[in-house]
Amino acid sequence: MNLLIHLTYLAPIVAAVGILLGLQPRRTATYAALIALVSALVVFLGYSRAQAGFQFESAIPLVPSWDLKFFVGVDGLSATLLLLTSIVELAAVWLAPTVESGENPYYACILLIAAGAAGAFASLDLFFFYAFHELALIPTFLMIGIWGLGNRQSVAWKITIYLSVGSIILLVGLIGLYLLPPPQARTFDIVKLQQLASTGAFAGSGSKSVFILLLIGFGILVSLFPFHTWAPQAYASAPVPVAMLHAGVLKKFGLYGLLRVALPMMPEAARHWAPLLLILLAGNLLYVGMATISQKQLDLTLGYSSVMHMGYIFLGIASYNVIGLNGAALLMLAHGLSIAALFAMCGEIRRQTGTVNYLDLGGLGTSMPTLCFIFGLATFASIGLPGFANFASELLIFFGAFKNSAPGAPLNEFQIVGTIALWGVVISTVYMLRAYRAIFMGERQARWQYVKDMPMNLGWAVILLVGALLVFGLLPRTVLDAVEPGIRLFAK
């Protein structure tokens, strides 16, 4: 049973190698993604909420003198994210279009990106936690460079250099974290590190500088303002499966890292840097939000919106209380599902009409009614309407922000940014509904007469994503019950 978790990242890696060696790409990839999804689902459902803590653990010691091992296991948060990874992975493989040349490397790259994310979420060892995430970097570079759209080459360079510099800053931060405790207590084991944290081993003066390194490193990976400029164009140019996996899953690695490593181990430093984080995330919400409104293409709108929505998650993280962090964790799942569905349908619109420019589109609603309907659902989810997981999580985040009231002060910085975040909902309503109107509303146009509704494979893929959104929106407790015990360990 404990070994089941290994399938979530091993199945795609093995399948990728097999595909590179000549197996039939599409079928192999689908099976691998199915295996990963089933094992992630079993892990998610089998994770004992009553017992809490880390479960499904298994470890292979590698370097005893550094206490470095290959250590895998989940708590509620990582089980949730593993589930997200494998849902998006299956959807991405499912709807991947026919590739004329190089179908094998194409599918292998998709699987490797997903495997990198899954491995990072499953790792309980700092070394492999970091290493797995970087596994996705080169496949992303190749995918965007070879099969991307538009100005793909410069975009591929930009995302690769940006993310590699972010990763190396992160690496230095993690090394700093490893070196903070006294020499005999040093370990790469995240579980032991969290226990060490409760003894105050990270409370020294160095923790503030280590935390800011981690915040910048993780922040670049999550597209925290002002390190966000790599994201929108990369998502717009990337092939659809890559955009789904990157915006939906891989970007959550940085947030997961903050929740898993930075916050629990250095609570004082987190509080120290909270004002800075609040200013930056307000940039995400307002500045990037405004930038999103001004976009004239669906792919860029979605790219910018995914950057903007990171602001909410950062707000939950900055609040540093149970309710806000719960909301952040739930929104990671919800945003991953909704943005993946939106990118999937954006790709289909481009495939059929050849454009995603608002000025060229219009009146598609009658030609593709099912897509129009599901796109509407995903739009509402993205805005945060009740019924979808996004609503539940954003609500929790707002509560979390407002809960941080200082005695005596009428309005503190958390509440000010919380108010801004509330306006963020209005901003996202504006750009999402505008996009919806520009694409689907209006007279039926003669040049779209050959446009058909979406094909079966895409249909099932987005139904999987949007269905999951609805399930978790109506039953957020399934996630929150799993996540909360882990958060209660370090937050109040």
Partner: protein, 483 residues
């Protein structure tokens, strides 16, 4: 198993001489046989090294410790791969060699690297300035011949002359430095120097520092550290490609073992030792900046690798500058092991591709992903490792370097390192871009690979991943944590 000292070196020396003698009596034989003889002989030596354990050598100027064994292995392994490359490169060599028979001169081309290898093995064990100097000369003089081996190629001759003049100059610096150190301490043996140093009177310390800095200049030349790197691009580009690989791996590796031993023995006098460390910190910073920035605009793959070799010397110097940290010796050793694998792999593939497509610019790699997927995959692994992507050997090296730098609070070097790693991603991925993004030129065929090269390539690919995924192999390279 403890080896009687010097036996292995003598064996390698004898192997080289036997190859030379046999060659002059074998008019009609295919000269490539000699390369095979060399490879088999060196493989035997490698097996012996694999089972040997450190022990007392019974000599004052020669040690047999873990670093010595490690660097001997590096020398032997590098020479084996260089010989494998030379077989593939033989046709290019003979094209530029005047001679009576089509293969005349080729035997020397296979024998000289073996002699160089003996010099490197001696250097790994040398703890006396005299022995260090003599083995250094054995290495360098064989390189003078090898670099200029293609006598009808102007670039090769130019490289030979440049290497000769600058190397001789650096040797002069080294000898002069040794005399200053001898003048102050009355010793040439590093262990003796270490013991004598604390009692050096204050007035003599500047002289000692001057001597140490001069030795540093000489070694800086060997390891291709800026600002002593001026020879690197031209010599690397002009020399026969297998020799370039030999220079960039072997010469650098033994340069670092000597540097480590010298710096370590000077730590017993902090007044001088600390200044030496500051000088190395300065060298590391300049080398990182120069190597990585100059690599950015390169379009020739050999020159790119030349500048990358300078850049990697910078990361290695960070580890040397962090000599106070517990794992700094390990960091140097692991980084060098990784560097050896990924650089030799790149050169091996470069030799195969360039002999086929008659050029070593990056554009000659266009579309390699479609033409020869396995070659392209090998080079992809090499480039990922050079750039420092996790789960490859190169990452583990960088990880350790950053770790020891953090432990000794070299924050300036860390900040520089972050920037240069970013640069590295750009210029290494330029090659990946050529292989996978660009279309292949028309009318090209798949590139034939000899079986030997194919085996060597896969062994190195597997080793790169093994070192990256199982760090315990790397820490096993140097069981005692400081050299």
């Amino acid at each position: 198993m403890t080896m009687p000292p010097v036996l292995l070196e003598l064996f390698v020396l004898a192997l080289g001489i036997v190859m030379l003698v046999l060659e002059s009596f074998a008019e009609t034989r295919d000269r490539k046989v000699f390369a095979i003889i060399g490879i088999v002989g060196l493989a035997l030596v490698f097996l012996f090294l694999q089972v040997s354990a450190p022990g007392p050598s019974g000599m004052v100027s020669y040690v047999m410790d873990w670093p010595a064994i490690f660097f001997k292995k590096v020398s032997v392994l590098t020479t084996i791969v260089v010989l494998i490359m030379s077989i593939d490169y033989a046709d290019t060599i003979t094209r530029f060699l005047p001679g009576r028979s089509p293969q005349s001169g080729l035997g020397e081309f296979f024998a000289l690297p073996v002699l160089t290898c003996a010099g490197m093995m001696w250097m790994s064990s040398a703890i006396d300035f005299i022995l260090i100097f003599v083995s250094l000369e054995l290495v360098t003089i064989s390189f003078y011949v090898l670099v200029a081996f293609m006598r009808r190629n102007a670039a090769s001759l130019e490289a030979g002359v440049k290497y000769l003049i600058l190397s001789a100059l650096s040797t002069g610096f080294t000898v002069y430095g040794i005399t200053w150190i001898y003048g102050v301490t009355q010793q040439t043996n590093l262990t003796q120097i270490q013991q004598v140093l604390p009692s050096v009177p204050l007035d003599n310390q500047p002289g000692l520092l001057f001597g140490a800095l001069l030795v540093l200049v000489g070694l800086g030349f060997k390891i291709a550290a800026a600002p002593f790197q001026f020879w690197v691009p031209d010599v690397y580009q002009g020399a026969p490609t297998p020799i370039t690989a030999f220079l960039s791996v072997g010469s650098k590796a033994v340069g670092f073992i000597v540097l480590l031993r010298v710096v370590l023995s000077f730590q017993s006098l902090p007044a001088v030792g600390d200044r030496l460390i500051s000088a190395i910190t300065f060298l590391a910073a300049v080398t990182l900046i120069y190597g990585n920035l100059a690599a950015l605009p390169q379009t020739n793959f050999k020159r790119l690798l030349a500048y990358s070799s300078v850049g990697h010397a910078g990361y290695l110097l960070i580890a040397v500058a962090a000599i106070g940290a517990r794992d700094s010796g390990l960091a140097v050793v692991v980084y060098l092991a990784a560097y050896l694998l990924m650089t030799l792999l790149s050169f091996l593939i470069l030799v195969i591709v360039s002999t086929h497509s008659q050029g070593d610019d990056i554009v000659h790699f266009n579309g390699l992903g479609k033409r020869s997927p396995f070659l392209a995959f090998g080079l992809l692994v090499a480039m990922m490792s050079l750039a420092g992507v996790p789960l490859t050997a190169g990452f583990l090296g960088k990880f350790l370097v950053f770790k020891v730098a953090f432990e000794t609070r070299q924050f300036f070097l860390i900040a520089l390192g972050i920037l240069t790693v970013g640069c590295g991603f750009y210029f290494y991925l330029k090659v990946v871009k050529a292989m996978y993004w660009q279309p292949a030129p028309p009318n090209v065929t798949a590139i034939p690979i000899s079986r030997l090269s194919l085996v060597a390539m896969w062994v190195m690919v597997v080793l790169i991943f093994a070192l990256g995924i199982f760090p315990q192999f790397a820490t096993g390279l140097l069981p005692s944590t400081s050299p």
